[in-house]
Amino acid sequence: MTEFRIPKLNNNDDSYILVEWLAVDGQEVKQGDPLVVIETSKTAEELESPADGTLVIRVHSGDCAPGELIAAIGASVEVAEPVVPEVPPLTSGEIDVVITRPAQALIEQHGIALDRVRALGRKVVRAEDVAALTDPREVVTLPRSQRQAADVVVLSHQTIPAAFTAVKADVTDTAKLTRDLSKHARTLIGLSELLVKAVADQRAEFPHLFASWLGDGRIRLAEGSHVGVTIDVGKGLFVPVVRDADVRPLDAVARELMDYRMTALRGSFRERDLEGANIAVTLHSEAGVEFAIPIVYPGHVAALSLASTQQEVQQGDEGFMVRQTVRIGLAYDHRVVNGRDAALFLGAVKRLLEEPRRWLE
Amino acid sequence: MIGAVRERTLTPVSEADLSRMLRIRHFEKALLRLFEQGRLNGTTHTCLGQEHVPVAVSALLRPEDHVFSNHRGHGHFLARYDEPHALLAEITGREGALCNGVGGSQHIYHERFLSTGVQGESLPVAVGVALRHKRTGDGIACAYVGDGTWGEGSVYEALNMAQLWGAPLLVVVEHNRIAQSTPTGAQLAGSIAGRCAGFGVRHERVESPDVNVVRGALAPLVDYVRREKRPAVFEASVHRAGPHSKGDDTRTAAELAEAAAGDWYAHYTRDFPAQVAALEEIERAFIDAAVENVLARPLSEWS
């Protein structure tokens, strides 16, 4: 079989016109026989057969380009069988265990008995099902509350570009004062209670930290300071909400937190206890925790963390002394506020924690 | 002798026929008036000059017969159903409309009367209806078409099937010599009679402004369709005295004069001036009152 392509006939044209064939399709031709008339922009030329054999015309007439295959000349014509995709027949039948091809490959590779595959109780057995049979390690499904927590955390990480800042507060004097405060209020008032109240009181000055992101560069401001507080007494993580903590007195806030702790022990939160927060305080009071980075809850702009109290030796005017300090962290939605706002906010909270006397008045 | 007594060319006309012809005439004239006043939505096709044909036809039809009408169908309807208020309400979209104002002038379905706006479309449908009549009784299907409709292939499909299957179908051709603006000579080769002959379909042609003559020519044909259960084509040569729809007449003054002279109205006012004058007064007043009544109604509603 010899290919018959159009030679380059001049330098001007990038296409020619195939005017007519001088032999018919299927004709026996001899080398040198005139075969075809090609017209360039200047001339009409006859091209000769390059070989002996049967002419099979590919291009009958019209535009053609140098190098284009316009015919083949060979001893015999190739017979091509049409390729038509096969559609398997439709059938009705009973349903049995179905093993996918990747699964079948794994079964063979690991020599797994078919009984074990059937024992999976699946109608369709996939590669991952077979892989589980080859892996001795146990697979555990997390409890529902943790799966819900997982969803919240993932959503936060996917949707909120958070930044983080922490400050250190000196709570040496505060620690003594909380005892007086507790006695006075007839309920436990510790650093957690003070922090919740201190955060809530900042809304007038820092409204954006209590807002919620709407998209398109807009936020909705809060109508009250509703502070979610993490409570985990070993029965799962809950975040009950202290509503309107800015307008309620410290002892009322403290009493509600105490009620929530009791509720957490009973494990009987109601939906309304857990709804409507616009900022969160996360407590990490286990000894030795220096600082913690909270997640910003979806729909919030800010979350604070309170780490455990640390003993620290500091040089003062009267020589070295032991001080009690805590780290307060602030994770915030960087689309809404910047590091300066975060620092000012933390500074205000820190001052209140270090100077809690105002709540005695 | 003051002048030559002109010979009457028309046969005496019944009061009922003349009243109905005049009622249709004044209905159409009222529509043209309303159109000029901008009180009609869309367009309308009047049958001025052709009124006597449906009046002649309707007297030969029975209540069970179906009538299929076309775009120029007000006369077809009013000749069969004396309900000008309902038709006007349909055309003006008022309460009491035949089809709630949805169909308008060209799309009416009332009892056994149906019109559509696509040329020739209703002929095959009429064959279907006629086949049911053939099976269930002595009813027939009567379809009005114009000379222009004979350009549509559906006409020939229908004639072929009607003749093959013996469908009691009466096709009434109102041959008004013009299709919208194209003279028949410029759009129809051969003749309607010749075309019918090709299918073996019986054909009769009449050219008269006299309602009795038209009816007399048609009566045996209706009888044939009803009794023999075969199709037939009745071709009535008429003059379109008005425009195709409104303000779209391109005919010359001479052609318009010829159409006016051929108008049945001209013949009847000449032969029966007193009778026409007396009845015309009544019909004009009746239609004027109908227009006033219908236009005072609330708009039609369609759910």
């Binding site: - | 104002g101 169909g103 149906l114 479309e121 095959p124 064959v127 499909e157 093959l164």
Partner: protein, 323 residues
């Protein structure tokens, strides 16, 4: 039982049970019994209620509409669905419009049956799938035969609705068996005009396709599951338009990716209309835009290898879903 035989038996039962049903079409009478033998035995049994007609597609659809209008029920067979274009006026401007254009409901119990589709080498004017041209015509329903649906029930449903319908029947499907139960891999469930074909509940991939695509869609589903480990549910509606997805809302609710396949050529298609409808309903729950699989924007050639290129094949469906 093959689909062709099922259709034939359904017509026999329909005409037996309802003497107002008439059937017209070219060459439908015995002994020929229609180009695809769907009307075999009907004229011998029901005499003048079955009429072989002249070659007048527009005319016979008009006659069918006339019968329907006058109180009968009519089925018109168009020998090849391609010729439905000749009856377009009667369908769109008369039969469909008449149901509403007279200001009140007018029943037109008319079914126009359209043998349709390629893969039989009949060439460009005898192989098309013209469903898309009848989508969105007020007063006209579009149905397509599937191997899952009882044709007799569909015919009864159409007549009872009083809305005229075009009823597409894939010509290759005629030779396939009617299906019920399952195929050893998938279960076949029929509910309210839909067939649900699936190997597992609540699959993330869902494919919608008319009945004529069943053989190729099921073949694609099989490969997707066995080779690619993708479980996909096939939904086959009997009525393509108007499309009511309520009966399969649960299947769609579980979907993360939806695919629509059809035999018509690309551009202004049924599948595009389905995608529009489903995007409105499923927006926000899907993880990808709805995939559309159709024949290319091309006439259908005659030669087998060329025709295969211009008709939807199982591999096309598998590839689109796998993407």
């Amino acid at each position: 039982m093959r689909v062709a035989e099922h259709l034939n038996r359904s017509l026999h039962a329909l005409m037996e049970n309802d003497p107002s049903v008439h059937l017209l079409g070219e060459d439908v009478s015995d002994p020929y019994g229609g180009a695809f033998k769907i009307t075999k035995g009907l004229s011998d049994r029901f005499g003048p209620r079955v009429m072989s007609t002249p070659l007048s597609e527009g005319g016979i659809v008009g006659v069918g509409a006339g019968l329907a209008l006058a109180g009968d029920r009519a089925i018109v067979e168009i020998m090849f669905g391609d010729f439905a274009t000749l009856a377009f006026d009667q369908l769109v401007n008369f039969a469909a419009k008449s149901t509403t254009m007279y200001g009140r409901r007018v029943d037109v119990p008319l079914i126009v049956r359209l043998p349709t589709g390629g893969r039989r080498g009949y060439g460009p004017t005898h192989s098309q799938s013209l469903q898309k041209h009848f989508i969105g015509v007020p007063g006209l329903s579009v149905y397509e035969m599937s191997p899952f649906h009882d044709a007799g029930r569909l015919f009864g449903e159409i007549f009872a609705s009083g809305t005229p319908a075009v009823f597409f029947e894939d010509k290759v499907l005629y030779t396939k068996p009617m299906l019920s139960g399952g195929d050893g891999l998938h279960t076949f469930e029929v509910r309210d005009g839909w067939a649900v074909i699936r190997a597992e509940r609540d699959t993330e991939d869902v494919l919608l396709a008319p009945g004529g695509l069943t053989d190729r869609a099921v073949a694609a589903l099989r490969d997707l599951l066995l080779e690619d480990e993708i479980a996909c549910t096939l939904l086959v509606p009997a009525r393509l338009h108007p499309l009511d997805v309520t009966p399969v809302a649960d299947v769609l609710a579980a979907a993360k990716r939806v695919h629509v396949a059809e035999d018509g050529t690309a551009g202004g298609t049924w599948g595009a209309e389905v995608a529009r409808l489903l995007h409105e309903r499923l927006w926000g729950r899907l993880t990808a835009p709805i995939t559309h699989i159709s024949a290319p924007d091309s006439i259908i050639p005659t030669a087998a290898h060329l025709e295969a290129r211009c008709t939807v094949q199982p591999a096309d469906i598998r590839r689109a879903i796998n993407k």
